[in-house]
């Protein structure tokens, strides 16, 4: 997470005031954050809005000269908090992080090049039924391919707690898929 290229870009951004360095950081993490958000919200528009908001909030955070040990961790934390704010804003509605009423009208914008669409839909429904914590760790670990330590920082727990959560999440997902 705290890799050298990220550190160098942060140095250029914070010390030298190089705005283009922020553009490069955006390029590195936009898809990850977008996917992370998309699994939690209903539509791609919401995912886009929140993703934009995440990067803008991260910029404001950097401007305050606060310590940043990991920029990607910062983005994920801001994303989680933004999603929580969204849920609170529509508190009457249930969580629909992975709603089936997905924006099929956006076919032109996202490609569903998956081999077995039915298999994918089944998987998405199962993920939806998982509790928030389990869904989060599965998507961060197996979709975004983050390390255990990185996930621990994002969700604010220890490495062992993350491993335990992952183990239980996978077990639960398997049960859901079998059923």
């Amino acid at each position: 997470m705290s890799d050298i290229p990220e550190k160098i870009l942060l140095y250029k951004l914070q010390i030298e005031g190089d705005a283009d360095a922020y553009g490069k950081l955006y390029d590195r993490y936009v898809k990850q954050i977008y996917r992370f958000v998309y699994f939690k919200v209903s539509t791609h528009e919401e995912a886009e809005d929140i993703t934009s908001e995440v990067f803008l909030k991260a910029w404001n955070y950097l401007q305050e000269k606060k310590e940043v040990t990991s920029f990607s961790g910062l983005l994920y934390r801001i994303a989680r908090n933004s999603i929580i704010d969204l849920y609170r804003a529509r508190s009457a509605k249930p969580e629909t992080a992975l709603g089936e009423s997905d924006d099929q009208g956006d076919e032109g914008k996202w490609q569903f090049a998956i081999e077995n669409k039915i298999e994918a839909q089944k998987l998405l429904r199962a993920l939806k039924k998982l509790k928030q914590e389990y869904r989060e760790v599965i998507t961060l670990r197996y979709i975004d391919e983050l390390e255990i330590s990185e996930i621990a920082v994002i969700i604010g727990k220890g490495n062992i707690a993350v491993r335990v959560a992952l183990h239980r999440a996978v077990k639960k997902l398997q049960e859901l898929l079998l059923n």
Partner: protein, 418 residues
């Protein structure tokens, strides 16, 4: 995790949930334009040091930078700066003398050298440093006395302190000499001779410029004492070499050792002869002054006869003493030479040490006679020009030179109208 499930999850990543490329690009442009509006027109002036610390805090945890890296870096910079500045100051201070502003730096540097040598256990280096510093003190003393003579000022208190430091350094050399190698002892012997020579010049200068105050007289005594110490150590160094050789040390050749013994013999003999000559010369000057005073009936300074007679008696005693010592030293030197001829260098050096002790006693006697005469003669000679001539004559004698005084000079001294 079952491979099948893993594959399915990964396929979600590759497939459906990526953002649209057009949105990514558009959003990037909007984002950068927004953030550029918040940046200042020109980069704020930031000190380079602040940039360094801020930069480090990106690569290292802030706590480590604040609590460890930054203090250590500051300490290192201070130590390096101090070291560089100290080295420059030490170079500038190397030629200073007491009372100069940077003189304490010179002394501090010397002490540091000794400390380092002692820490690494190099006893030879410690001894060499002490004798080198003693030589420095001797030269500093000489310069200070010369300055006092030129300016006409009384000898500064720093001269006495410098002589005391010199004696302290010589004591340190003497205390460690037996534990050192012949090579170190040879260095000590050479330096001791040089120190003794310099101090002899200092003593002559002091006598010539004649401070008859208690402080001045005390300083002269201290310089004489330091000279004696230097001579003692020189002979002790020869003893160390000779003893080491007797135990099989061949670092100094036998011929070199014999030559050093012969040189020491000559030095002692010369000193004894000089003391005798000085005592005799002082006596002659005083005798002549006494004769002239006696002959100037009615024109004498009250009490002059009594004073000059007392001094004359003291010079007689000095002459007798120095003659006795000279004879004794002569005997001892003859015995030492015989022992050298028998290759018994250890016993020869022992004889030299005995002769040296006797010679130093004779020197004290002759120096006392000169000082007494210097104190008294101006009081019985109202004419300052004549008094100066007489003193100069006396100083020539005390330096081992010849008398140039004549009755006419003494006569001018007593009765200028004649």
């Amino acid at each position: 995790m079952p491979n099948d499930l893993f594959r399915q999850l990964k396929s979600l990543r590759r497939a459906a949930v990526d953002p649209a490329a057009s949105w990514v690009a558009d959003n990037r442009s909007i984002l950068l334009s927004q953030i550029k509006n918040t940046l200042p027109k020109s980069a704020p002036a930031v000190r380079r040091a602040d940039k360094v610390w801020a930069g480090l805090e990106i690569f290292l945890p802030r706590k480590i930078v604040t609590a460890v890296v930054r203090p250590v870096a500051i300490i290192l910079i201070i130590v390096m700066s101090a070291g560089t500045a100290l080295a420059a100051m030490a170079r500038a201070a190397s030629n200073t003398i007491p009372d100069d502003t940077l003189y304490p730096i010179k002394r501090f540097t010397e002490q540091a050298q000794v400390t380092v040598a002692a820490m690494i256990g190099d006893q030879g280096a410690v001894t060499k440093l002490h004798v080198e510093f003693a030589k420095q003190r001797a030269f500093e003393t000489k310069q200070l006395v010369q300055i006092a003579a030129v300016t006409g000022a009384a000898p500064a208190p720093s001269i006495a302190a410098t002589v005391a430091d010199l004696k302290s350094e010589m004591s340190a050399v003497s205390n460690n000499l037996n534990d050192n190698t012949s090579a170190v002892a040879k260095t000590v012997n050479q330096n001791s001779q040089e120190i003794s020579s310099v101090l002899q010049d200092v003593k002559n200068n002091l006598i010539l410029n004649a401070s008859n105050t208690p402080a001045g007289l005390n300083l002269t005594r201290q310089v004489s004492s330091a000279t004696s110490l230097a001579k003692d150590i020189g002979i002790k160094a020869v003893a160390v070499i000779v003893n080491n050789q007797a135990q099989g040390d061949t670092s100094v050749s036998k011929d070199d050792a014999k030559q050093m013994v012969a040189d020491s013999l000559q030095t002692v003999a010369t000193a004894a002869a000089k003391s005798q000559q000085v005592a005799a010369g002082v006596h002659t000057v005083v005798e002549q002054a006494k004769d002239v005073i006696k002959k100037s009936d009615g024109k004498q300074i009250p009490g002059a006869i009594t004073t000059i007679t007392t001094v004359d008696n003291q010079t007689v005693a000095a002459v007798l003493k120095t003659e006795q010592v000279s004879a004794q030293v002569g005997q001892q030197i003859s015995e030492a030479k015989a022992l050298v001829g028998q290759d018994n260098l250890v016993q020869a050096v022992s004889k030299i040490q005995q002769a040296n002790q006797a010679t130093q006693e004779a020197e004290r006697v002759s120096d006392a006679a000169v000082q007494k005469a210097q104190q008294v003669l101006p009081t019985v000679a109202p004419d300052s020009a004549a008094s100066s001539s007489l003193l100069l004559n006396l100083n020539n004698v005390s330096n081992g030179g010849f008398m140039s005084s004549t009755p006419s000079i003494i006569g001018q001294m007593i009765s200028p109208r004649q």
